[in-house]
Amino acid sequence: MITSYVHEIVRGTGSLLAGMKVTIKAMLSRTQTVQWPRQYLTLPQRFRGHIQLVPVESTGYPKCFACGNCARTCPSKCITVKGKKPEGAKKKSPTTFLLDFTKCSLCGLCVESCPVSALGFSKDYAMAGPSRQDFAEMDLLSSLASPFSTQASKEKDHG
């Protein structure tokens, strides 16, 4: 009886020390958190932010020719595309490309269905806005150059 009493105390103390070893190791190892917004993590290749239009590298115009595949595929019906031919071009180009991000579930079907890979995921995760409207009608065209340079662009400011 007395040996089991002593044994229990020794074993208990040992387990306490084992626990303390774990925490001190954790304390001396590198921290996992990042001081955002001073530091940013490099996001993985396959990170899925909201969708964005991919530009043609030479011109900076969107690759998109407003076929509307993405809008038709979208299960949440959150993409609105309208387009027409710019003067002297063979293909159409989008005049309106709106994303309702409040409905989007980031499933990626639009990206897969695009015949020319004109859609991709952005790496933008720190999104904030004062009103719901900012995300209900995100104008994806605003970040790209427009082939309708003569027309009045419908640029909107987005945070």
């Binding site: 105390i9 306490l16 626990g19 303390m20 921290t31 996992q32």
Partner: protein, 317 residues
């Protein structure tokens, strides 16, 4: 002796006041930093260098908060509790020797004075629990008293062991008697028991049943807001300092140490013990109150009693 020198008194008062405030700022920072690092986080980083001024910013925020009392609370007790909790600290800091000469005032019974005043902290907690007319508060206050039942006797027995060795109640003389060998090496069992007891005494995790956040919201200070709330924290961190200082004097040889000046050694040892307590807090899960009582009576008490008797018989022979 023992002269009443006005300049000395003023310096001591300011020194103790500064020590209490500075210690709270430092220990809160140390605690939050340690907590962060042990969970792979940074802890406070924004205010000052690595967040060192975070506590001050929090203090300013807390002063500007409204003091709210529950409408059914016993107002007198409710207001008195944080004051009762904090005030004895200042007297308890009096006999603590930072070096052979740097201390506010030496008394022959300094050790007993500090131990006796440690009780008033629990009294403050009890008044808070009773005064706030809140079930969580009441439970917390009662648990704090229950805690005394567990730790007080082993604590006194380890203190007796040290007093036997040193033959004095004066903290300065106890520290002086360990010029060669520290008591921690002569009395390792007593040292371990004392460490457990001060964790119990200061209501720190794993024995923080009085404010167990997961079951009692915040225990005895559930109803407290703003400055009254921070008074309890100031008291807790100051009691931690006093308890660690007492342990330093009794077991770690007080200010003795090579090369560095004496007060630096003292502060280093105290903060080592404080870090140990913080380390405990972020490592061990909270125990149940019956487990604590059982540990106090079935483990700490017999071992400290046997340790005391062995010391006594060795010294008698």
């Amino acid at each position: 002796m023992k002269d009443i020198n006005l300049l000395h008194i003023v310096i001591s008062l300011l020194g103790i006041m500064g020590m209490v405030s500075l210690n709270a700022v430092l220990v809160v920072w140390l605690e939050r930093k340690t907590a962060g690092r042990m969970q792979f986080r940074h802890g406070p980083m924004e205010v000052g260098f690595h967040g060192i001024l975070q506590t001050l910013a929090d203090g300013i925020k807390l002063v500007s908060k409204q003091l709210v009392a529950p409408s059914h609370a016993d107002t007198a007790l409710f207001i008195m509790a944080p004051v009762v909790s904090l005030v004895p600290i200042f007297v308890a800091m009096m006999p603590i020797p930072f070096s052979a000469t740097i201390l506010a005032h030496e008394t022959d019974t300094g050790l007993l004075l500090v131990i006796a005043l440690g009780l008033l902290n629990t009294l403050g907690i009890l008044l808070a629990g009773w005064g706030s007319d809140n079930k969580y508060g009441l439970l917390g206050g009662t648990r704090a008293v229950g805690q005394i039942l567990a730790y007080k006797i082993p604590l006194l027995l380890t203190v007796l062991t040290i007093v036997i060795l040193a033959g004095s109640f004066s903290l300065r003389e106890i520290a002086m008697s360990q010029n060669g060998l520290w008591n921690a090496f002569m009395q390792p069992v007593a040292f371990l028991i004392y460490i457990v007891c001060i964790v119990l005494e200061t209501n720190r995790s794993p024995f923080d049943m009085a404010e167990a956040e997961s079951e009692l919201v915040a225990g005895f200070h559930t109803e407290y807001s703003g400055m009254a709330f921070s008074m309890f924290f100031l008291a807790e961190y100051s009691y931690m300092f006093v308890a660690a200082a007492l342990a330093t004097v009794m077991f770690l040889g007080g200010w003795h140490g090579p090369i560095l000046p004496a007060p630096i050694w003292f502060i280093l040892k105290v903060y080592f013990l404080l870090f140990l307590m913080i380390w405990f807090r972020w490592t061990f899960p909270r125990v149940r109150i019956d487990q604590m009582l059982m540990m106090g009576w079935k483990v700490l008490l017999p071992i400290s009693l046997i340790n005391f008797l062995i010391t006594a018989v060795v010294l008698a022979l």
